[in-house]
């Protein structure tokens, strides 16, 4: 099934992310590696979307494109109806700070800072005052279940706990979108399930759009939509209803 055509302009304000013929080619001498080869995807506000595919399918490249971490060879990315290629360095940084939260497979916490300080960091870049930052960071860490680990450094936390700090940090500036690149990749089965459930709860509570790039099948149950990518192209898109039906049969 090919990607469905996007809705008419009047409905498109509900799209928080939209890509148009997105291509990313890497040129290594005479060889061209087509990491993304024409991807058209749209994501609605409040959706929980999983991008699924094997290693090398282009998931992480896609993640980098829609997160504004890298620029495409061709095509456009719209975040909240803004073409991010038109943003200058300052505006792009603002986007990453305020509109998007990032979660990585390797957690990527700042090792010299405590959990609390890690969650404060995005708020520092957003210009939030010290007292407000502390209160919010503490509240977020309590929400993810780390109220008793506020002053621990990443080396003193388990993988699951570090990922929880990363989730709290991603939510620090109340972003519209949370992008997660293989959030359960470095976690065992049980911890991975906890993290997935936590993400789903937060998605429901805050109406934050969550886009996960993953090959973890546990994500299937909780996603509103699944976009299957292989060899840089969208192969299939399944919605919740469709998944349920296929399992029943």
């Amino acid at each position: 099934m090919s990607a469905p055509t996007p809705a008419p302009a009047s409905e498109r304000y509900a799209y928080v992310v939209e890509t148009e013929n997105l291509k990313k080619y890497y040129f290594m001498g005479s060889v061209v590696i087509k990491a993304l080869d024409g991807v058209n995807v749209y994501v609605k506000r409040g959706e929980y979307v999983s991008i699924m595919g094997p290693s090398g399918s282009g998931k992480t490249t896609f993640f980098n494109m829609i997160g504004g971490l890298d620029s495409p060879t061709e095509g456009k990315v719209y975040i909240d109806n803004v073409d991010i290629a038109k943003l200058d360095a300052y505006e792009l940084a603002w986007l990453r700070c305020r509109k998007i939260g990032y979660i990585f497979q390797t957690f990527n916490l700042i090792p010299v800072l405590t959990a609390l300080e890690n969650v404060e960091l995005p708020m520092i870049f957003a210009g939030v005052k010290k007292e407000d930052r502390l209160k919010k960071a503490e509240a977020l860490l309590r929400r993810v279940g780390l109220g008793d680990r506020l002053h621990h450094k990443p080396t003193e936390l388990s993988g699951g706990q570090q990922q929880r700090v990363a989730i709290a940090r991603a939510l620090a500036n109340d972003p519209v979108i949370v992008l997660a690149d293989e959030p359960t990749g470095n976690l065992d089965l049980h911890t991975g399930l906890d993290i997935i459930n936590l993400l789903r709860e937060l998605n429901r509570e805050r109406n934050t759009t969550i886009i996960t790039a993953t090959h973890d099948l546990k994500m299937i149950d909780i996603s509103d939509r699944i976009i299957y990518i292989r060899d840089g192209r969208v192969r299939r898109i399944e919605t919740r209803a469709e998944i349920k039906v296929s399992y029943v049969v």
């Binding site: 505006e91 940084a93 990453r96 990527n108 700042i110 957003a126």
Partner: protein
């Protein structure tokens, strides 16, 4: 459209971040600092010593003086090269951190601010330690040789200017030597910076 929107990194926060970085990475940082300390100590010792011996009339050959200045210069150059190398290594190890900071909203100048500030602090601390060490050794040694005459006090105070100069040179050296690696690091785009993490 979004022209006024940008992220900030107040000086107070940058300073807190850098001091924490230095404190936690202290042993690694010590290597850079030792080279600064030794280079600066030698330079201050040389200048202080030459001044004191000329004031107190202790005889020492003119050739020794000129030769000494060259050695001091050489040691500072070697020190500078060492700092460039150490900073390159340190920056490379922190590519992941840089990528992450950019994801959190840092712009190029914020990253530069962090590394330049860290080098500034290292130059300052290493410079202060080295300068006073070299100065102290020169004063004691010269004093002992001349038997601590009363003119020593006035002459000693005059030599404090070398301490000031040396600290300034140490700071300048540390900042200049780390400027290029820091600049390269600041210009990385987040995807590349994160990819380079082992």
């Amino acid at each position: 459209m979004m022209a006024e929107r940008s992220s900030v990194f107040p000086f107070k926060e940058a300073l807190a971040y850098c001091t924490r970085s230095i404190r936690v990475r202290f042993l690694r940082v010590l290597m850079i600092m030792i080279s600064i300390v030794l280079g600066v100590a030698f330079m201050v010792w040389l200048l202080t010593w030459s001044h004191l011996v000329s004031v107190l009339g202790v005889s020492v050959g003119k050739e020794v003086q000129a030769y000494g200045l060259w050695v001091a210069l050489l040691s500072l150059i070697i020190c500078g090269i060492g700092i460039v190398n150490s900073t390159l290594m340190a920056v490379y190890e922190r590519y992941g951190e840089i990528g992450t900071l950019k994801c959190l909203g840092a712009i190029d100048s914020h990253i530069l601010k962090i590394f330049v500030l860290e080098s500034f602090l290292l130059g300052l601390i290493g410079g202060v330690i080295g300068a006073f060490a070299g100065w102290g050794i020169a004063v004691l040694w010269c004093g002992m040789m001349a038997g601590f005459p009363p003119e020593l006090e006035a002459a000693t105070i005059q030599t404090l200017v070398y301490v000031g100069e040396a600290i300034a040179i140490a700071v300048l050296l540390a900042v200049a030597a780390s400027a290029y690696p820091a600049y390269r690091a600041a210009k990385l785009n987040p995807a590349d910076a994160l990819r380079k993490v082992v």
